[in-house]
Amino acid sequence: MSESNRPKRTILVCCGTGCLANHSLKIYHKLKELITKAGVDVAVETYIKTTGCNGLCEKGPIVKITPDDIAYFKVKESDVEEIFEKTILQGEVINRLLYLDSVTGKRFKSHKENDFYKRQMKIALRNIGEIDPADIFDYIERGGYESLKKALFTMTPESIIEEVVKSGLRGRGGAGFPTGRKWKQCAGYNNYPKYVLCNGDEGDPGAFMDRSIMEGDPHSIIEGMAICAYALGSNTGFAYIRDEYALAVKNMSNAINKAKEAKFLGENILGSGFNFDIQIVRGGGAFVCGESTALMSSIEGKVGEPRAKYIRSVEKGLWGQPTVLNNVETWANIPVIIEKGGEWYSGIGAPKSTGTKVFSLVGKIRNTGLVEVPMGIALRELIFDIGGGITAGRKFKAVQTGGPSGGCIPESLLDLNVDFDSLTKAGSMMGSGGMIVMDERTCMVDVARYYLNFLAEESCGKCLPCREGIKRMLEILNSICAGKGLAGDIELLQEICATVSEASLCALGKSAPNPVVTTIHYFEDEYLAHIRDKRCPAGVCKELTTYYIDPENCKGCGLCLKNCPAGAVSGQPKSWHSIDQKLCIKCGNCIDNCKFHAVKIR
């Protein structure tokens, strides 16, 4: 019916993992049914699409309507009919479903106007939420594969690499190695075949940007890889994707097939004579497999153990051949750099950290989700202006960046600029862009213990200092959290930290002490409270925590009683409630639910 002259309208239903869990697919089907039923009677020709994650999963499911530029948040199945009747049939905006700024009470019709989106700059995430990832024409319509054409027909391999060098782009997977330099090195080896790899292992807990790109805009990765392959003279690529990311695997495979049909991949791409194909390898769920040499060994069908890096992968990587490995987000930037030029890109962000970076804002922050901002943004702006600050009006304590190899940054450093070098100087690192925001109810000793526990499980065990050192540190932290900490434990931890980071083979071991080092450095008081006073100020370590209700503040609202899973709270409405210590399982639900700060920690 597209031959009709009716104006067009498209409904975009977010079907990223966050919204899916909140039943966005039901909303999609119900809307679709209503549209189909109404058929040509609708004055405006209406299309409906599913998209990848819009970034603000906290307020999902999200339904956007173009070209009206309306965005509805927290849509329920029961809202669907009203959306259809009012917005689709009559072009009317439903105020109740618009984004609500909880501070000013203002509502915004377009999602681009609210604080969460307004300050962002989308390059890697340029298409996500705007296109149907299963439809290659959506990607093409927004300029997709134009950069590949430009590279193939108007640029030389050298000039492509030169643009990427000029852009200043540094790898988004963790180490921040300059991408252009890596390509240039690899191009220098006259040894074929060469391989182009995509790291979609995303092992860093708390980060989900790579997942979002693979699910929401797979062609941007494919196009980036194809451009690189042409510059290096490589004909074979591999995308290594976590097997747990079922939707990412599906959307990437589908996109690869569609790209082949459209001649953007495969033999004789667009008639240029250049061949390049990408195969998908599903990862086995080991954190260390995200490390470059372990990843290659895993693709070869072996156990994913790192090897010493005196031989670099650009020279001898996969099957001993020259190999370029880049992260998902790195790849997604490439088409834009080729389109607009390296110089344009290098003008964004900070001098030695150019461009934008995607961060996942998670933890005790109000607007949890994915954001893309220019590098160099102040931590404070990221957490408070975009992220909306801390939940439940609590106090900010720290933000953890860089994943298990990163560190915790305290309140005193909130004015820090977020770029590769500043984060490293503060004792943390950029990592893949996970930002885990912590408040006064987060115990820093427990956080250190958490990461060591993670690393103890994930160490491949090849190096003795990594394997045994992490285990020993974990034992000490376990005993501190259990109230059995001894004077001298802090010094002992620091000593082991030094040995482990010096004597381990790969970056997992080398950086494993970071969470311990930074929490001791910035939060020694909390360690001392555990060791000396046998108290956990955050009320997290169960052995050191007793909850009680302060009669001064208790209004008898009963919220604690209602939310206690153990039946430990008793009290009559409007009078003082109290906790039976014998029944209390110390889950903290009462303290998190009490609006009057009446539940306290002893």
Binding site: L20, P205, G284, V303, T368, C587
Partner: protein
């Protein structure tokens, strides 16, 4: 019946999986993943068969199967509950959810209930950190789980008989 029949079925499924890939060592993991998906663990029969087919020693396959977390050598329950204990979930009290489930099911993480109905596991990040604490049962995601909601969720799967 059934041990023998079952074993036959496993062998025939493994043959199908092997037929789907070129006979090269680099597809070992992919084959193991397919078998894991079907049976929720890797039966010994499959390992032996793969070892013959690929010419890879059984010991090497065992070390691959134990190295990769997504693979299991132990059979799992009908429903696999995976509670996220990634960082974002951890600081939003995911361990309280694990403890509560462990209490209701009377098993520890890594174990299966005696009636074979539920397995309980913890995982590092489901990529749904915005909905922390998150968990997934089989393929269904649950966000913002609270201790009091866990029993309700289990009921969707027929709940717990014992008690």
């Amino acid at each position: 019946m059934t041990v023998e029949k079952n074993s036959q079925r496993i062998l025939s499924y493994t043959r199908d999986v092997m037929a789907g890939y070129p006979r090269e060592q680099r597809f070992t993991l992919a084959m193991l993943q397919d078998i894991q998906k079907k049976y929720k663990y890797i039966p010994r029969e499959s390992l032996e068969q793969l070892s013959d087919h690929l010419g890879v020693p059984l010991s090497k396959l065992y070390s691959i199967a134990t190295f990769y977390k997504a693979l299991s050598l132990q059979p799992k329950g009908d429903h696999v509950i995976r509670v996220c204990d990634g960082t974002a979930c951890h600081i939003r009290s995911s361990m309280v959810i694990v403890d509560e489930l462990a209490k209701i099911l009377m098993i520890k993480p890594g174990e299966t209930t005696s009636d074979g109905k539920f397995s309980l596991e913890t995982v590092n990040c489901l990529g749904s950190c915005a909905m922390a604490p998150a968990m997934v049962i089989d393929e269904t995601y649950y966000g913002k789980v609270t201790p009091s909601r866990t029993r309700e969720i289990l009921n969707e799967y027929g709940g717990v008989d014992c008690e």
